[in-house]
């Protein structure tokens, strides 16, 4: 085996091909009994995937998943409808779990000083020693138990938690308010007015899927106006009905202005009313009309109004949010104060500086860093020195990343799909993580590392989890099957809110200083904090700029002009002694003077695809606390790989992307008479007529559908050069338009036109129509004239310019969905309406001697959509979900005038502006 080869040569590749063939054949099934979800066949039926409920945690918060396994090989992640953080959908990054599992650059064996050694040697090194462990925040009961034991049984050892995107400010404010780390959980289904301060709570964070779903449903039901006060445009900001762009200083003043109005107007306590005066002074001369309207809207919705504050906002603003939410009667309504599920949330063990100092002290025999990469993400903490000062160091992780490079030991971490464990969602609901495959590279879990510290040299993740949860066989099996532990969600905190402490905090608040240039650092929508360096995510477009393969500095037009830069001109951003260079993009709705830069890029680890892509903005993060940043033009340009350049509608809004204000009357349906020289040929004999409806009012632009489509349909990635040359392969893209009334996100995929213009120009019958209305692409027959793409007015066809799968590492090939052809070079491809799922459902129904159930077929994009913006189904059934939307008078076809008769109808984006504006 080539397990320890640092680079894959041709020889290693061949060995891997053999190894992966063996893997596929043997299906390294987990030894412990895992229980299939819903479908329980007596054995694996080739060609039929098994569904397993599992979960994973990101920064400690659990997300319930259903993983598909084809003959022992996980190939697709879906959301678990029973899990409160998922409700059946997922985020884009969850979809990438399949890619991180089959990552060819994963650590492939235990190493000591670069030499392969056995895991046993590591066991010896770690058992009963004085060990310092740094790991990501967790909500796992099993780990909680182990940490407790370490703290009590091994006084010389200690455990710390770290993540680059911490919620420390949230917890700190919660602690002031309730005496314990409390999470303000938002439930938009109970809200009629929500204001967010730089919180992208609909598209990122632990509860974004649930929040987006509930807000979209609430809006559709009886309306909920969303106000956004933020720097760069986030999906949440453009989903909002009202938005104002601010820097940190002005945002704080807006908060003061709105809070002052709310607190003085309400039945708040005296202390709060006194605070209102202070706040009014601090607010100064911010846009009072906006603040007035916002406050009035909140007050009118008293009891159903909520403040949501972004994780990175100052702690005092979070404190203020508690005060305002209470004044609005939100606490216990749309905002629930829930004790954080995170172990030791807000305590000293979450302080990286503390770890860094202790690790360097030499008090420990071994410093273990597991699953986090602080050398990359916290450069100012000088972990290099800490690790050099430690007697011995080990890295437990998926890759030999920046931190691993400074550690003596490298121990492969088990991927979440290879692990036993447990997680809790933000509301406390527990789930069991069950493995779908034995660790491909023999990795171990963090719980198993901790158990080794405690001297258990053959720990079993299964037993550790089972012991910690203390379930009997029946409950254990039920939990495995459903994916959630019943009745484990946390009760709201019983503590009363300590108003005085909060008022004191806010009174003492020193508003963020206003600098000429301000840097807003934010997590990348695609690669998060940099740990997801997979092709899918590297090429996943940012929701608004559509940039891929790297980060950019977003600037307003005025700021760009004052800096003397244009699109793609490189700016040099300096804070303290650190500076980074990255290309600028002029972004609408960007506050003047604010440069927004995504974190998570500029990696230097073993993940070859991400190596050196973009600039590492973590370098600036600590320096920005103390220094005023500067930005200058670097005098060169660097192309930005964007999947969409034009965002203007060129007066085509009616034909393409319709929108209206909620106060306006509904748009009239298209009634133009269609004259045709032809008599319609499509025979209505097929029992089903597949169709889709997309509600643009519900789309947040979160890209989860793009990611899910890529994974489901084996869509290749093309690299930065490919994207720059307009050769991106996404079957489904989310178009971003600047409509007259705000941003419109329009998921665009093959429209499956009844009178498809692509079909009649194909000279070889490679794209034809099925009786049930699918525009079918016959890869085998395609010769690659590309006329179909030219003649597609929606430009949703994608061409294999090269053999994109040819040089794919053998391990990567395991991730492919076996029910979907892997396309070779020279053929066209496009959205199939997940034809494999349609036919699969039909076959299953056939073999069960029944008709297809209503809405039984679900496409990958529909399934993953947090807001259910996409609905698919049978148009012939008048009561199917799609028919109900399809028949709405406002439903329209894009480019209807062309007479292509698409099978996808869109619902216009409806924006609920506050009435005073008109």
């Amino acid at each position: 085996m080539a397990e320890n080869e640092p680079q894959i040569g041709r020889r290693a590749l061949l060995e891997w091909a053999a190894a992966s063939a063996a893997l596929a054949a043997c299906a390294r099934a987990p030894v412990r009994k895992i229980v299939p979800y819903v479908v329980q066949p007596p054995e694996i039926v080739p060609g039929r995937p098994l569904h397993y409920a599992t979960a994973w945690e990101l920064d400690g918060y659990g997300m319930g998943l259903v993983a598909l396994s084809h003959t022992g090989r996980p190939t697709k992640i879906e959301g678990n409808p029973k899990h409160p953080a998922s409700l059946g959908a997922t985020r884009a990054i969850d979809q990438a779990l399949i890619e991180t599992l089959y990552e060819p650059d994963r650590a492939r064996g235990v190493e000591s000083a670069g030499e392969p050694v056995s895991l046993h040697e590591f066991d010896e090194r770690v058992a009963h020693k004085r060990v310092a462990v740094l790991m990501p925040p967790t909500s796992s009961r099993a780990i909680e138990k182990l940490v407790r034991r370490i703290r009590s049984e091994l006084p010389g050892s200690d455990v710390w938690f770290h993540t680059p995107l911490s919620r420390a400010n949230v917890w700190a404010a919660g602690k002031s308010a309730f005496g314990e780390a409390v999470e303000p959980m938002i439930d938009p289904s109970k809200a009629r007015a929500i204001v967010t301060f730089s919180s992208d709570f609909l598209a990122s964070g632990p509860s974004c899927v649930r929040a987006a779903r509930k807000l979209a449903d609430k809006r559709a039901a009886d309306g909920a106006r969303l106000w956004a006060i933020e720097s760069r445009r986030t999906p949440t900001g453009v989903f909002a009905d009202e938005r104002v762009a601010t820097g940190a200083h002005d945002r704080a003043r807006f908060a003061c202005a709105i809070a002052a109005r709310v607190l003085s107007d309400s039945s708040a306590s005296d202390a709060s009313r006194a605070l209102a005066t202070t706040l009014r002074e601090r607010a100064g001369d911010v846009d009072t009309r906006f603040a007035d309207r916002c406050a009035r809207d909140l007050l009118a919705a008293r009891g159903a109004a909520a403040w949501v504050v972004g994780d990175a906002e100052p702690m005092e603003l979070h404190a203020l949010a508690w005060l305002v939410n209470r004044a609005l009667g939100a606490v216990g309504g749309p905002i629930v104060a829930t004790p954080s599920p995170i172990l030791e949330a807000g305590e000293r063990s979450h302080d990286l500086a503390d770890f860094s100092a202790r690790a360097a002290s030499g008090d420990f025999d071994l410093v273990v860093i597991a699953g986090v990469n602080p050398v990359y993400s916290a450069p100012d903490f000088d972990l290099a020195r800490s690790l050099a000062g430690a007697k011995d160091s080990a890295y437990v992780g998926l890759h030999r990343n920046e931190t691993a490079a400074l550690c003596r030991w490298l121990v492969p971490l088990a991927h979440t799909l290879e692990s036993w464990g447990d997680v809790r969602a933000d509301d406390g609901t527990g789930s069991i993580v069950q493995p779908l495959i034995d660790p491909i590279f023999g990795g171990i879990t963090i719980a198993e590392v901790l158990a080794r510290v405690l001297g258990d040299l053959a720990p079993s993740g299964h037993d550790l989890t089972r012991d910690a949860l203390g379930l009997d066989d029946g409950a254990w099996n039920d939990a495995l099957q459903s994916g959630v532990l019943p009745s484990t969600s946390s009760a709201p905190t019983k503590a009363a809110m300590n108003e005085d402490a909060l008022v004191g905090l806010v009174q003492a608040w020193v508003l963020p200083v206003k600098h000429a240039i301000e840097i807003e650092l934010h997590p990348s929508h695609a690669v998060h904090d940099g740990r997801f360096a997979t092709p899918l995510l590297l090429e996943l477009p940012e929701p608004l700029t559509k940039s891929t393969w790297g980060n950019v500095a977003l600037v307003s037009r005025a700021t760009a002009e004052s800096l003397g830069v244009g699109d793609e001109d490189v700016v040099k951003v300096t804070a303290g002694s650190h500076s980074i260079e990255l290309p600028a993009l002029i972004e609408r709705g960007q506050p003047d003077g604010v440069l927004s830069i995504a974190l998570g890029w500029g990696r230097r680890g073993a993940e070859r695809l991400a190596d050196g892509v973009g600039a590492n903005a973590f370098l600036l993060r600590e320096a920005l606390e103390k220094n005023a940043p500067t930005a200058i033009a670097a005098g060169r340009s660097e192309p930005v790989a964007r999947t969409q350049i034009n965002i203007d509608l060129y007066h085509r809004a009616h034909e393409i992307a319709r929108s209206r204000l909620k106060s306006e009357k509904p748009l009239a349906p298209d009634t133009a008479m269609r004259l045709s020289l032809y008599t319609p040929q499509l025979s209505p004999t097929a029992p089903h007529a597949w169709a889709m409806s997309i509600d643009m009012s519900r789309c947040t632009g979160c890209q989860a559908c793009v990611a899910a489509c890529n994974v489901e349909n084996n869509v290749p990635t093309v690299g930065k050069a490919g994207v720059l040359n307009d050769r991106d392969m996404h079957w489904l893209r989310i178009d971003h338009y600047e409509g007259d009334r705000g941003v419109i996100f329009q998921p665009m995929l093959c429209q499956h036109c009844d009178d498809a213009p692509c079909e009649y120009v194909c000279p070889v019958n490679a794209t034809v129509h099925s009786p049930d209305g699918l525009n079918e692409m016959v890869y085998n027959r395609c010769v690659g004239t590309r006329f179909c793409s030219n003649n597609c007015p929606y430009k949703v066809r994608r061409f294999n310019w090269f053999n994109y799968h040819e040089d794919e590492p053998a391990l990567r090939q395991l991730e492919h969905n076996p029910q979907v052809t892997v396309r070779a070079r020279g053929v066209m491809e496009k959205c199939t309406f997940c034809v494999q799922r349609i036919r699969d459902a039909e076959h299953v129904a056939d073999s069960d001697h029944r008709a297809l159930a209503r809405d039984e077929v679900v496409t990958a994009c529909q399934q993953v959509c947090p807001t259910q913006a996409i609905v698919f189904g049978d148009k012939n059934d008048p009561n199917s979900a799609v028919s109900l939307r399809y028949g709405l008078p406002e439903a329209y076809a894009v480019l209807d005038d062309l007479g292509t008769r698409p099978r996808i109808r869109y619902l216009p984006k409806v924006i609920d502006k506050s009435p005073e504006r008109a």
């Binding site: 307009d726 010769v783 070079r825 066209m828």
Partner: protein, 433 residues
């Protein structure tokens, strides 16, 4: 036979039997470029069409532009020899073979590109109906299948027409051969021609018949080529004016290429008695007439779009082309195809070989940019602004276009080297009877 006839015969056969010194280096240089072309083509076949600059939305770019341009150039050859034959324009006889050879060699180039640009060129034969176990047939509503038939018909008919006209002269070459090898080779290609009056009569009628069918053919072929675009729904493609517009443009560029080739050959071979100033003058008039037709087409297209009130068409024509990313191609087209040819109203311009030569180069460039602007410009910005894109050719695009020029010239120099490129018997007949 009269002595002047014999002298003419000798002059014209000596063009082949005593090749000028410059011909060999020309053959070597263009031969090397031809090799370069085939190396590039091989590379594209092996690696994939991704080596070209095409993308989505601009899925057709250099190769299809080159295809339309080369095939258009070919049209003048047929037009001169067939259409003017039917009109009994005697002046055509001294240049017709030249022009027909140009047609054939341009068709070689044209035929290369549609196959080259396919994603899977090894399956190009799927466009032809043949019974197979799959029972799948080509899809004949697509203009690409029409194209296959039209271009292959055009090539075949052009070849037959050219060869039939050549047979009597090949027989003469056989008879005047100076070496045994020449006699054998020319003898084989002469197919046993022996000058029987009955054969001559049959020859004239069949030659006339081929000319007769080649004339509507030439019109239909470029009409069908234009339908590759006109049947599409792309703004800037979907236009009823395309067939005549493309045919006029084709003949326009073809006449220009005849001038480009004829003027140097006339000077180098000292053929001023055969290709006279009158020939140049008449050719220049044809260029002027076709230029006016082309100019009218541009005007009519603009007018139709302007009056049509289709925002997509208007954006395509008046923004993308006139002011947008393809403005350079648009204005080059206007200057080369409309403005410069107006100088041909001056008799001095029509009679100056040097001026005509330079002008002809501009016209070819202008016609290429016109095709490029129509094909790639229209694709770069069609319906959904989100999908608009830019196009930049790759190195391979440039090398292949350059190589096809070299291959064309190589074939042409071979033609000059081995084939009597002035129709000897026809010229004799015109001079003497």
């Amino acid at each position: 036979m009269k002595t002047e006839a014999v002298a003419l015969e000798e002059q014209l056969t000596n063009l082949v039997f005593e090749p000028p010194k410059w011909l060999k280096p020309c053959l070597i240089v263009t031969g090397l470029i031809t090799i370069q072309l085939f190396v590039c083509v091989f590379y594209v076949f092996i690696t994939g069409v991704g080596t070209l600059g095409n993308n989505i939305p601009v899925a057709w770019a250099f190769p299809i532009t080159n295809f339309v341009w080369w095939i258009g150039i070919g049209h003048a050859g047929t037009f001169i020899s067939a259409f003017l034959l039917l009109l009994e324009q005697k002046w055509r006889s001294s240049i017709n073979r030249f022009a027909e050879a140009m047609t054939l060699f341009a068709l070689f180039q044209a035929g290369l590109f549609p196959i080259l640009h396919l994603g899977r060129p090894w399956f190009a034969y799927w466009l032809v109906p043949y019974p197979s176990t799959m029972r799948v047939w080509p899809q004949f509503r697509s203009s690409l299948t029409w194209d296959v038939v039209a271009v292959s018909t055009y090539f075949t008919i052009s070849l037959l027409f050219w060869f039939l006209g050549l047979v009597p002269d090949l027989a003469l070459m056989r008879d005047r051969a100076r070496t045994k090898r020449q006699r054998i080779v020319y003898g084989i290609f002469a197919l046993g021609w022996r000058g029987s009056a009955r054969t001559w009569q049959r020859w004239r009628i069949v030659y006339g018949l081929l000319g007769g069918i080649a004339t509507p053919l030439v019109v239909s072929v470029h009409s069908i080529v234009s339908m590759d675009f006109a049947i599409g729904i792309v703004p800037g493609w979907h236009s009823e004016i395309f067939p005549p517009y493309f045919v006029a443009g084709a003949i326009f560029s073809g006449f220009a290429l005849v001038l480009t080739l004829m003027i140097p050959a006339r000077a180098l071979y000292k053929l001023h008695n055969v290709v006279t100033t009158r020939h140049l003058d008449l050719m220049a008039r044809m260029v002027l007439v076709t230029s006016l037709i082309v100019a009218y087409s541009y005007f009519a297209e603009g007018l139709a779009v302007r009056r049509g009130h289709d925002p997509f068409e208007i954006h395509q024509l008046f923004y993308t082309r006139a002011r947008g990313p393809f403005a350079w191609a648009f204005w080059t087209t206007i200057v080369c195809n409309v403005v410069l040819p107006q100088t041909l109203w001056l008799p001095q311009a029509r009679k100056s070989a040097l001026y005509l030569f330079i002008l002809s180069l501009f016209i070819q460039f202008g016609m290429w940019t016109e095709r490029f602007m129509i094909i790639s410009g229209s694709l770069s910005a069609d319906y959904l602004p989100s999908a608009w894109g830019h196009y930049a050719p790759s190195l391979m695009d440039g090398l292949i276009l350059f190589g096809s020029g070299g291959f064309f010239l190589f074939a042409f120099f071979l033609f000059l080297r081995f084939v009597p490129f002035i129709p000897i018997r026809e010229t004799q007949k015109d001079e003497l009877t």
